[in-house]
Amino acid sequence: MSPTRTMTINMGPQHPSTHGVLRLVLELDGEMVVKCTPHIGYLHTGIEKGLEGKRFQQGIPLTDRMDYLAPLSNNLVLVLAIEKALGITPPERGQTIRVLLTELTRIKSHLVWLGTHAMDIGAMSVFLYCFREREVILDLYEAVSGQRMMASYFRVGGLAADLPPGFEDKVQAFLETFPARLQEYEALLTENPLWRQRTVGIGAISREDAIAMGLSGPGLRACGVAYDVRKAHPYSSYERYQFDVPLGKVGDVYDRYMVRMAEMRQSHRIATQALARLTPGPINVADPKLIPPPKQLLKKSMEALIHHFKLYSEGFEVPVGEVYQAIEAPKGELGAYLVSDGGTRPYRVHFRAPSFVNLQAMPRMVEGRLVADVVAVIGSLDIVLGEIDR
């Protein structure tokens, strides 16, 4: 008998279900995937190199472009790392607004995941509903920062500006309608036999393998590992919020779906608490070396003028040292490693991008399975190539 011949095909980089410019080289035996080799780098923009040339505060807009579905989470990890190196913490109102907006960001990111994941598998209408809700959050982004997607709203030491008037009511209105909407999506998918056929038992990874491969976020929690950075190492006062960490059991595509759906409920819970905690107060640290003075003061106060000039012409210095700051981004553990040589620009910044690490585990999930499952697994990993390639 002649040996079985396998066929090698390219999936991507221009393939609608690879969520950007991911290229997979699949070795197929009929419909069966024998070997899967991801090729990345098509979206490499040198963000880490770019940050080395920018002053600390200037680098924030670059981070928006990493995980462009969750820009504020990226802002947050960079400003937290710089704040850790400086040894400062923003005041309570600033932190609460950060929590409120990053949780809305998580919902926004998960909505795109749900819509595209469902569409890849063939459920077209979910996509339209998800984008309807996402639109509301984009409007909220626009209200705080003037930008719908690349908000760059967080600053070292606090925020770019306080919330605009009427913002709380808009968030309140969204939070009131969202649980019912979430129920609608679940009604479309959770018990749907077609959905279950395509997801239950597909792309499973064991708990040990998940840890060995460095999987984090919903992918790791779907295997039953209760690792959530917000609980394990709270930042921005997350320890003051009541929320659960949803877990799965077998770590298949369906479990990852269930974990993310439950996470949206928890994010809604946190956002509701954050909204209730919003009391008037300062949003920025009271340090004129870090935070520019109010514009009106420039005409009256010599110090304010000097501080303003120094801040925009030189920036501020960060003490010599290195820090690693991790946050729970929608995709998993997003880390920023910052090395400062005492100057006004970072000596080195590195991002531990969760999508980069999660994608690496993909061959283990699809090898030995059908080609159609590859699409389901990519969707369930919720990768963003902007973050993988940086």
């Binding site: 780098g41 490693y337 690496q360």
Partner: protein, 179 residues
Amino acid sequence: MSEPQTRTESREEAQATTESLVLRRLHEQFGQALLEVKVWRNETTVVLASQHLPQVCRFLRDDPDLAFDFLSDVTAVDRLNLPESSPRFEVVYHVYSLQHGRRLRLKVRVGEGQAVPTVTGVWPTADWHEREVYDLFGVSFEGHPDLRRILMPDDWEGHPLRKDYPAEASPKWWEEEPA
């Protein structure tokens, strides 16, 4: 495994144990391999002699009191423009213990052209991280199963995150292109 939210020790206590317990165990086992220990902003950094790296990593992962089972990240720093610039590269490992909630930073220093032993045998997730360091810094990893560029094209020249690599394209790159 104990769940993070039910752990009783606070973050400060956990960090204090990292410093005492982890460092004590490392000193007992690998006294001569530890070149430097630093603590800054509650983060512990241990600089190792590179030839001992795989044994130390295996010990950190397998010792039940330490159980650093999760490798968060591997990256590197080109120290060319720092006051202390020799050896030139520092490869940085961020390891985490899911069970104990502790983080630890390991470092090895290597010069131009020297290889670092791979840790893919200890944490398989190191595979892509090490490829990224190889690609962007030109530091090679001995024993790595598949060491090739990952972000840059295969035929790329140079290693972009080195400090002597320009951040912007110089005009001469374009001049060489036929009009």
